[in-house]
Symmetry: C2
Subunit: 201 residues, 2 copies
């Protein structure tokens, strides 16, 4: 199909498609003349994926490029793959923070995680943020958060599709990026429901 | 204290403090001469809060201004307060999406939530994102996500401090903004732990 048809099929303006081509998010089509290229369903699928990552996924163009890279050239071991997915899906972090509290928390929880992975960096940053804002998390609450996220993660890893590496990477990367806003939206709605039931039964 | 002492106490450069003053994030000090003002511990606390919201909270200056507004002038009813906190903590959303699927999900879950709240908009957007990316969430997984977030939210609402309205707003707003990155970091680490145990025991 031509770029105009690709635009219609995927519901993305031609100018935007050209931008994604320039930014190397979308692979080039097959040239049929010096000024015309042919595209196929691979491009339609990729365009939909880019839109989902940029929109609800909330990623930057650079992060989308990394995510697509992880899908196109996946590492082999599952835990490396998970690390690559997490890193690909992460925006660059600010100034490095002290990781000691985050490492200690994971040890207390008995979690087998790499000390220098990006998740520890994120945990360290969020703990430092709570501390800086003098936000006292109620007693036992961090453990409750950890237990619920553990239950989510176990179900997610157990649900990993048995298929090609590409499918697994897609599941892991998109599961990280696209499910995060879903979880946060559900938490806010559940808070609303719990507040209504508690204060306004 | 003078602005230079405030800078030292809060660990924020003078130029940054002046920027926050111009942006009306930080209240003016008390003028002691046409070019000099006095600041106190209220300013130190507020500066720490601003830094936490901009840094780990990941909010924009505009969103921080809204959050501080919700803390300074809180609504009275608890569920309104929660809504104000959620809205204050939200960046402007993109194009409106169809809310039907999100509303239907909340009805299926039996959650008492307002159909036009920002949480429904977020849920709708994240569901649309999963759909657009052709990401098949495994059977029953959305219900599992909802149940875990419900358990988190119940504990959070039950943990609301009994204090002044300001304290409650602070708990709700900061609990929304600062706990979100904590939950997501814990999920990523728990995935890593679950993957190591499953694939590399």
């Amino acid at each position: 199909m031509r770029i105009s048809e690709l635009s219609q099929d995927a519901g993305v303006p031609v100018a935007t498609i050209k931008y994604y081509l320039r930014e190397r998010l979308l692979p080039e089509g097959v040239l049929t003349s010096p000024t015309q290229a042919q595209y196929d369903t691979v491009h339609v699928d990729r365009l939909r994926l880019i839109r989902a990552l940029l929109g609800p996924g909330g990623l930057s163009v650079a992060a989308v490029r990394r995510v697509l890279g992880a899908i196109d050239e996946p590492p082999e071991a599952m835990h490396e793959l998970l690390g690559a997915a997490h890193e690909a899906a992460s925006e660059t972090q600010d100034a490095p923070v002290d990781r000691a509290a985050a490492i200690a928390l994971c040890e207390r929880l008995g979690w087998r995680v790499s000390r220098d992975c990006e998740g520890i960096g994120r945990l360290a940053e969020s703990l430092a943020g709570l501390e800086a804002a003098r936000f006292g998390v109620p007693e036992g609450m961090i453990e409750h958060y950890a237990a619920t996220m553990r239950s989510v993660a176990e179900a997610e890893i157990a649900g990993t599709p048995e298929g090609s590496v590409e499918e697994v990477v897609r599941y892991v990367v998109l599961g990280t990026v696209l499910v995060e806003p879903l979880l946060l939206a559900l938490r806010r709605l559940a808070q609303q429901d719990a507040a209504v039931r508690t204060y306004d039964p």
